[in-house]
Symmetry: C2
Subunit: 217 residues, 2 copies
């Protein structure tokens, strides 16, 4: 069955899925949806996701939404192929999910385009105020994550152990956003180290926004 990813080069939630697909050694068709042009509200996407949000992954005629749900679906469906994105041990599974959710629930949703738009429309937030808002939530989330990663012996080359998991699929795109918006990364050496380690792997490198066919110059 064919895999098709509806994504946008700069969507960090879509970036998570590109990493996961690469780590699972899965080929997929890319269907670019330009968020800046509002294409997520077009029928092709909205009929598959009434939330009008990215990413959406189709697998044959099955439609999947929500990045962490998609990553676990891929890992469970293609067990034994590529990297294992979820550990076997129950406590480690919970830790990988908790790190992922810190990123995907408590940082990213506060900073996406629709929220920044609402800040502008409702409160007249300027570009500077919007970026300050983003950095505030990234700093708070990263500060907690840095502690959790630095203090836990389960942390290895990657967030959990020495191989990439779902947690790294979520972390690396958030660091990309942080660098893009000039967050001071000095307080987060463990996060930065994992970022550099990950991007040295071809599976992460090939998933980078600027390497995507729909990336604008």
């Amino acid at each position: 069955m064919q895999l098709k990813l509806y994504g946008y080069w700069r969507s960090s939630a879509a970036y998570r899925i590109r990493i996961a697909l690469n780590l699972k050694q899965l080929k997929y068709e890319l269907a670019p949806v330009d968020l800046r042009k509002g294409e997520q509200h077009h029928e092709e996407l909205k009929s598959r996701n009434p939330q009008a949000m990215l990413p959406v992954l189709t697998h044959g005629d099955r439609v999947f939404r929500q990045s962490m749900a998609i990553i676990e679906y891929l890992d469970e469906t293609f067990e034994g192929r590529g990297y294992r994105l979820m550990p076997v041990e129950l406590r480690e599974r919970a830790r990988v999910r908790a790190i992922s959710q810190t990123l995907a629930c408590d940082i990213h949703p506060l900073n996406n385009l629709r929220v920044l738009g609402a800040l502008e429309t409702r409160f007249g937030a300027s570009e500077v105020q919007q970026q300050d808002w983003m950095r505030h939530w990234m700093h708070l989330g990263f500060a907690a994550l840095e502690t959790l990663l630095a203090e836990n012996p389960s942390t290895g080359e990657f967030c959990e152990g020495d191989a990439p998991t779902m947690a790294d699929c979520c972390l690396i795109p958030q660091v990309y956003n942080a660098l893009r918006f000039n967050l001071d990364m000095l307080p987060f050496p463990t996060i930065e180290r994992i970022y550099r380690t990950a991007l040295a792997l071809p599976e992460f490198a090939a998933a980078q926004p600027e390497s995507q066919p729909d990336a604008s110059a």
Copy 2:
């Protein structure tokens, strides 16, 4: 091993865990943390969760954070006990996770106390503007969820089939919030029907905020 829940009666993320614990027929000790008094920043909580957020669940000397991670941990650890909170079939698992994440990533984190506080501090958002902000994200998320629930034959008495899953653990607390802040529920008949069905079960009823020992009058 003893289970201990750090929660707050009105925290909807803690409410999710109370439902899950009840559905798994698990006894637990409750450690109330008063968010209104900022007790999440006290050492007892913050040493267990550097995010200074609820809920935190301890299981013996193990510490777990992030509500969906906790629910899946409980379901995997206490397999065969009480209700199964995650289906077996892979597509159904993905659907339960996606519904849960729509609530726990795209609605709730935009509306919690720290975000409302930031809207007030940064943009002078009034009480009325804050509540309007909350209703905006609840309406958007519920509109998408209503479509997903109403149009999918997998929906039964509950979000997925005829027994409660993690998706219902996440949905019911969000409806509680919606009712509390006077969201018009008329456009969401499927969500409302599931809410009524769930609260008829003792496991949901006993988890309600107003039934908690730390609830204020």
